[in-house]
Amino acid sequence: MSWAPTSRVRAYPWLVAALLLAALAAGRPELAAAAAPIAAVLLAGLLRSRRPRLPGVRVSVSATRLVEGDTVDLTLQVDLPAETAALEVGVLLPPGVEVVDAANPGVLARSGGPRQSLTLPLRPARWGAYSLWTVHLRAFDDFRLRRFEARVRADVVVRVYPSTERLRTLIRPLRTHVYPGSRVAAQKGEGIEFADLRPYVSGDRVRSVNWRASARRGELWVNQRHPERNVDVVLLLDTFAQAGPAGEGTLEQMVRGASSLASAWLRDHDRVGLIGFGGTLRWLEVGDGPRHAYRLIDAFLDTQVVLSYAWKGVDVIPIRLLPPHALIVGITPLLDRRMVTALFDLHGRGCDVAAVELRPDAHVAVPSSEVEALARRIWRLEREAQRARLLQGGIGVASWTEGEPLEPVLMEVEGWRRRARLRIR
């Protein structure tokens, strides 16, 4: 352990020396006698002071994955050396993590045993991956003349998933995939939803015969049904720019929305993929199942805005990331024109595209002058024009304000798509 003198050691020798010097200069032994108790403490302390061995520290957490608002117990198991009477143990927490009803630093006394543990309930304030926790150890000698310190690095990573909104209404893709799922396909086949009637042909199952229609027409007619299929959805996250400070801005809102959407689609056995479209391109191919859900949310946690002035179009997106018939949902604050262009390009290539606009108004400063108010009005009008362009181009879009539920926004997009009777070329 490293050591450093405390403020006592910085003061006591000078004090004793000054009194001794005054005693010598003035010929008054009382001043030397007055210095004697402090000198005795200094002498005894320095003679008894020994550098302690580094205590063994093991760090563990009760969970490495948790949802926002949950607490995680960080347990420090410390092997106290025999020469350490008491050890202060503190954890240097990453920003955004707070200790819940516990002392940090805490103190472990040797009288409690050679091996002791200290548990700190921690609560991360927001989603994210928290890593590299540092444990700070501090001990003093018998007279608190020297301070011994060490830092122990604990490679613990805790992933905090954003709390998701439970969505019952989702945007319905125009076309389904070939695998079984829970979306009613437009095609006819084996399923539950009634689709049409047709004359009986050899090989049809008897249970498919519509006896009422057959009796009316004098020949056998069978029911046709819509099969239930799954869909492919690609979430296209706009990571070109964000409004608001880190942890509170549109990026935060985007990750929450994307998590809610991904969870809802995966719950319905659909396949979900992710493209982070911004300064850097990040992606995760479509997939389904609980393992893919974890992969997706881990990818959301790593989502960040990377500033870039390079022009980026959809041609930089690998073609395999956009499966045929996939619904592409762009989640964007509409702050960067490159994202709008990309949405139009995708739509122009025959993809089924919808968009959720993240309203950045709450993160824009209140105008303090007439000029600023005018600028804000122009900015709002430009945004409205962009929204109108998307709608005119056949891309359903609705605005989502932070703090409000996402489901009405999806219902608005879905309603617009139904009304527009969008057709993919």
């Binding site: 003198p5 403020s7 009194l19 032994p29 004697a36 009288s111 690095r153």
Partner: protein, 189 residues
């Protein structure tokens, strides 16, 4: 899990330090043997003492451990002035004044270093105070012995040499301690 026993509130050592500093100021003024012939000297000594008291108060109020040394130094200066300028006879209570200075320093440091009720274990603190008391009493006894010896052989050459060597040694020690800190380690758990 070990539950640390909460330490007493820092107000207790802080008040203790100020009270002891006040006693030292009064003792310093009372030691002046001028019989009212030089009230200016009494006022000067009292002024230095009050400055020491205020410095102590300032240090513990703002919890700045670095100022404690200055507070104790001013209190010691008050005593030194009262001994040198205001008293002819040998002061037999000097070791007790030394204990008082030690007490002010330790109580003030304790008040300044308080970082919460669970950051200090009471039993460990009690053991430290017991050791401090033992060392302080031993120092006071040694100081009393030295004082008795100095009364008989006042101004002797060996005494002067020992004192000078002590001063040089302490200054060297202070300089070494001020400069020396070891490298910090960052091992993995």
């Amino acid at each position: 899990m070990a539950t640390p026993r909460p330490a007493p509130h820092p107000l207790i050592p802080a008040v203790g330090a100020v009270v002891v500093a006040g006693v030292l100021v009064v003792v310093g003024v009372l030691h002046v043997d001028v019989n009212g012939e030089n009230p200016l000297l009494v006022a000067a000594i009292g002024g230095v003492g009050i400055a020491g008291l205020l410095t102590t108060l300032w240090a513990v109020a703002e919890r700045r451990a670095g100022r404690v040394g200055w507070a104790v130094a001013v209190l010691a200066a008050e005593y030194a002035i009262s001994v040198i300028a205001g008293r002819a006879a040998l002061d037999a209570e000097a070791p007790l004044v030394g204990v008082g200075l030690l007490l002010v320093a330790e109580l003030s440091h304790t008040a300044c270093e308080w970082r919460g009720p669970h950051a200090v274990d009471t039993s460990v603190e009690l053991r430290r105070w017991a050791r401090l008391a033992a060392a302080g009493v031993a120092g006071a006894v040694a100081g009393g012995g030295a004082l008795a010896l100095a009364g008989s052989v006042r101004g002797s050459v060996p005494g002067l040499l020992v004192g000078a060597a002590g001063v040089v040694g302490l200054v060297g020690l202070a300089a070494w301690l001020r400069r020396s800190t070891s490298d910090e380690t960052l091992p993995a758990a």
